[in-house]
């Protein structure tokens, strides 16, 4: 089982992501996703900070522009934390925020997906993130 934390302040966006990941068509030729996924939603950066230390996550999907704790701060927190360092991070943000995207990647995010995206694109990005060295090590370690 792989647990994914979705950090998004838009509930519709969170639902969309959940739908895209949880209900992937079984016959799809998309990149394979783990058979068992648990999607955990965080509505804010603080929510994410609350949730992250309490569970073992295989992936963090985060927006950048959020009130209070922004996505960049979250990425830095994850990368600076011994416990979370190896968790892959996928940024979902708008195409126009190049500067913030660059910063996010520089801070240690693994991948960027521009909004809006199709369910296929999201699944592809998630599967690639999980297969990345960081993600693979993580999944392996968690059994």
């Amino acid at each position: 089982m792989v647990r994914i934390l979705v950090v998004e302040d838009s509930s519709a966006m969170r639902s969309y992501i959940r739908a895209a990941l949880e209900e992937a068509p079984p016959d799809s030729s998309d990149a394979p996703l783990p058979s068992e996924l648990e999607i955990v939603e965080a509505a804010s950066g603080f929510d994410a900070l609350r949730l992250l230390p309490r569970g073992s996550y295989g992936l963090v999907i985060t927006d950048i522009n959020m009130p209070d704790i922004n996505g960049l701060e979250l990425i830095k927190f994850v990368r600076d934390s011994e416990h979370l360092r190896s968790v892959p991070v996928l940024i979902v943000s708008t195409q126009s925020g190049e500067r913030d995207r660059e910063r996010g990647l520089a801070l240690g995010a693994d991948r960027f997906l521009a909004k809006p995206f199709t369910p296929e694109a999201l699944r592809d990005a998630v599967s690639k993130s999980l297969a990345s060295p960081r993600g693979a090590a993580r999944s392996g370690g968690d059994g």
Binding site: S10, M13, E23, R99
Partner: protein, 740 residues
Amino acid sequence: MADAQDRAREEFFSEAQEIVEGLGRDLLGLDEGQRTGRVDAELVNDLFRAVHTLKGLAGLFGANRMSTLSHELEGLLDDMRLGRVELTPTVLDLLFRSAELYDRILQNEKEGRDQAMPEVDDLIRELHRGKGGAPPPSPIGHYELDPGLLAVLTEYEEHRLRTNIAQGLTLFRLRVQFQLATIDQALDDLKAAAKPHGEIITYLPTGAGADADSIELDILMACKLTGAELEVALALNGVAVEEVARRPVAAVSSSPVPFDRGATAEGAAGTRVRDGSEARRREALDVASLLPPQMVQREAGGAGPKVPLDVASIRSVAQTVRVDIQKLDRLMNIVGELAIVKSSLTRLSDRLRAAHISRELSSDLHRLQRTFDRHLESMQKGILEVRMVPLGQVFDKLARVVRQISRDADKHVNLVITGAETEVDKLIVEELSDPLMHMMRNAIDHGIESRSAREAVGKPAMGTIALNAFQKGNHVVIEIEDDGGGIDTDRLLDAAVRRGVLAADEARTSSRREVLNLVFIPGMTTKSDVSELSGRGVGMDVVKTNISKLGGVIDLGSERGIGTKVTITLPITLAIISALLVDVAGRTFALPLANVQEAIVLEPDAVRRIDDREVVTLRGTTLPLCFLGQLFELDGSAVVGASPGGAGAGHAVTKRNGKRFVVVVSVGSRKLGLVVDTLIGEQDVVIKALGASLKSVRGFAGATELGDQRIGLVLDAPALLEELSTSPRDARQASEARDG
């Protein structure tokens, strides 16, 4: 799957509806802000984020019209929140129209209708036209901000940081620990407590010092309060307040007029139209200036120290303009012209009164004249005020130099600056730069001991130099105090005696203060003495001369083993100095009070001749005299008024029946008695430079208008002392050679 998708779609509609309703509310707030001139930045950002979310959602759920509208609107709001576009009534109108159309688009989408909406297309076109220009350059580089903190700022947060700095607010780092269980409430409380005093730029979890149930945050806040005040304001929130130090800056240049005040409306959308890509490029460049120098340097391959790309002054922002100092001089001259008009007016008024033509008319004129005087005076004051700049301009430079020198000298020095906001005339600030720099260098090189020496005597390894400035009446006082080794007065005395500056018996009777003042004598502290005189004395004669030229005085205090303190007292404006007016052979001269020690009555019988020079004994010491009338060849040949031929006009021979006075002037430890006929009194005078054609004339620092078109020459006491320390015979010969 279908279920989940439907559910998501449903959520989309309800969230979109909620957002659009929120838009309307926020716009009303924005409208209010626009009218009252206080636009809440947070509100603009909320609007941006709302539209941003709408755009994302619309894209996901295939609502194309909404997506396109959101895209354009997002661009406009992004420009607004990043300061590229000003909020004008036109822009507001666009925003309101958008909110209204969102509602209708949403209805159409819900009902699955796909009808043409030309008004939406029109709006999209209009929005598209108004793209913002570049934001003002950032002074963020001025602050000692943790690069880790800067790296996690979003573009918007960076913009807010920049804007707050530009508005002259102070940056604080707040550290706070929250229980995760109660974080929402605690955070809301903190926000509420902070909101009246400034803006929270960002929250950064430190990741340290926290257990699983709590979290530590670094909060960057821009604030109007001082650190102590902010601490009080947030006392209930368990916050540790730390002011973010300002970084010394190399040069100061202007920053553009800020967007939110000075932007002018252009184009159909009432926004500033500029190439968006250029704006972005400038943004990108600007990032370099956000990073602390060491980071920039690393990126540049360590190619020498880099000055931050933008060096905009923190002060020269908001509602300020930059004015050429010469223009102010010209204004001052016009004031002078008005003063002449004023005196003509006075004469006219007097004549009118004397003629008894109309009592009423004459008193009316008199009243008018008084009003005119008052306004003229406040105008003169106003212009002088405009010339004032904060000493921080030169202090910032000093801080940078201190860091450099202490690195070079391998000494740890902590520079503590207070009173950087103290204002003095711009010209003084400029002229102060070199002397202050010199004294800083001395303090580090010769004042602060080596680390090992400090530790050996139980001092902290890090030396401290305090640079304090404050206003004291019509003067500004600057203190430079170090906790170094102090000046070795014994060695200083030895050197003075060896060099013949002081006789051996004089050396024994000199007061401590007199001994310390020896450092101001030229030649006392030559380079060869640098290591010998373990205080600071190198080149202090030059420093003293420079300060004297500004009408200032310099004083020195030093305790062996404890430290040295130099105190400089300067007039606030260079143009105005306090002067003692004296009369010599019917002419008025001004003596800067800074150079005047005292004035005594000349006892003709007390005058003795030593080495072809007249002297008197003043409290046991010999005071050489200078008869100004003789020096300036005024006695008996005085010429007053517009009479080039000279003979017989005006003053003939100085009256010798009355007593005369000796004005004792001092520069360093040297003194001279200037013999004058009358002491007229003290007066603040506006000093003006003599023309270039009189540059070679020695003894005058300038001239000043005494009113009624009369002019008084301002004596240059240091120059007179310098000149007269050569033997009188030499001086006379030199003077004859000049005139012959």
